[in-house]
Symmetry: C2
Subunit: 353 residues, 2 copies
Amino acid sequence: MTRAYNFGAGPAVMPEAVIEEAKANLLDYQGTGLGVMEMSHRGKPYMEIQEQAGARIRKLLGADDAWELLWLTGGASTQFAMVPMNLGAKPADYVVTGTWSEKALAEANKLGEGRAAGSSQATNFDRIPKQLELSAGASFVHITSNNTIYGTQFREAPVVDAPLVCDASSDILSRPLDMARYGLIYAGAQKNLGPAGVTLVLIRKELLERSPKTLPTMLNYQTHAKKDSAYNTPPTFPIYMVGLVAKWIEAQGGLAAMERRNAAQAEKLYACIDAHDLYLGHAQPADRSHMNVVFNLAEPEREGAFLAQAAERRLLGLKGHRSVGGIRASIYNAMPDAGVDALVAFMNEFAAS
Amino acid sequence: MTRAYNFGAGPAVMPEAVIEEAKANLLDYQGTGLGVMEMSHRGKPYMEIQEQAGARIRKLLGADDAWELLWLTGGASTQFAMVPMNLGAKPADYVVTGTWSEKALAEANKLGEGRAAGSSQATNFDRIPKQLELSAGASFVHITSNNTIYGTQFREAPVVDAPLVCDASSDILSRPLDMARYGLIYAGAQKNLGPAGVTLVLIRKELLERSPKTLPTMLNYQTHAKKDSAYNTPPTFPIYMVGLVAKWIEAQGGLAAMERRNAAQAEKLYACIDAHDLYLGHAQPADRSHMNVVFNLAEPEREGAFLAQAAERRLLGLKGHRSVGGIRASIYNAMPDAGVDALVAFMNEFAAS
């Protein structure tokens, strides 16, 4: 069997070279006689893996010593709670751009006071709200930088007074970030970073001082910051994989190169959508995501045929989320150009058929 | 290079056959064209993996429909908080048998009232307390079934009135359990179950009713029970590995066979310790662990030589925890007999040298 092109929204495609490297080391990592999965998290070989993975991500993003880098678990969904628990939410402002920011806001309201500073809910989240109503003295402002379900993306982070907290689960490492605009960035790994099971948190060290001592130990960012993310056993193998992905991104030319490639791939797909009456893009053009290309068919009864014929060509994972329906092509960092070209070719043929 | 014998306390040795199977499927799982790491957690191939892994563990342990099986993250350390958050701790009784139960008790005291119902702290945790002072109306009684640092283990679970909660991180699936005695069992995966990054929780369904609605969503057991542990993206690859390990245990003959093998391996090591004045076992004989064999050298200045000569023979991970010092040989399920035989041969030679 050959590898398929995996357009799934996540867990998502990983670079083939990364999986090959992991495979070669699975039983015996660099002559240690143990696989990475079997190594003590306090032994030198693994500690170097974790340190290097963190250093690579810091370098790619330009996160200097003002930042703490934490390897956690529980996904973005756990961060929805940890952020207000640690930073306070009295109140906190949320830009509501879809399901994930709605969930984050709901969690803040369990733990403090979360406010919607803007929302595109009225138009089924087809755009990024530009006019924000921010609260005076907000503990933080929260955005979801890319919205997997609706296919929208902030072109750049808003400039706000309160610390900007960003759920970057679905576009981290896909483009350079102006780190000066952020206070905290978190991301589940399973789209651009690596496999599911590890959550990356970058937090300005000054914000760590806010964490109340009364928090459960594992939910306090300080616990993990003080112990270099080894207070307890971290998810060692997923972290190793993230390190390999970061190395692969370096080899591709870093985040500027990833951004060019992602933009070019997205452009090909949106051009195809715009060229055919059959395809109706969901997002407003200005806010189109470079990670998730979401569209409906003008003849929705042909959706089943679209998906079936795509699958015959090994173009997988294209079914849209039930909130929008239609088709979703997720083209994270690891999607090869050939996959996008194959999808565009198929879409042109299908529209003409 | 050949594989080493890994006596590390965790993340620990995994069966070679399991790693070989994972390796063969890393780029293309059973002809799907995707590796397990890259699959949607809502797609059929992965959902079958998770379901089968759970079914195998249920069958091995004899956990029937009265039990809910949850795949979580955050390790036992997160369960230290989730247990009292969900079950209440007004008060809760803890049997204190070492560092891990001390940490669990401390967490209960952050969230409610935890009481030490017994402790062997006065003798540096060299035994399991037999006389327990249990509280009337306790929310639960908590034990740590095996103590990795001190090398002690409950031979069987105590019979108590309140629901028995067991941190079985370091001996789960090493022997049959009388499930009737338990209310909740949790375990980080990285010793007997699989790689770090997934936490197994077995909870009686009736106890799920205790979870307060005010809890953060991800910290509420009900959230995960209602969604078959797919409320958010579970740690898919670690769960896949746990399923392979469970299949391997079945092929070994199940938990009764594992118990015989583990007991025989432990017996060989304790017999060697008892045969030489050089080796001083830490645990009282009646409470000796079948998972972690902990001993000091009567001539502590020879410890460095012991560890160095062992490493030359590819016997790795033998350094004891700083709380006890000396040597710790962890012999979890996946340790082959040949590894124990090699260690015993070395210990005999070293004692005679």
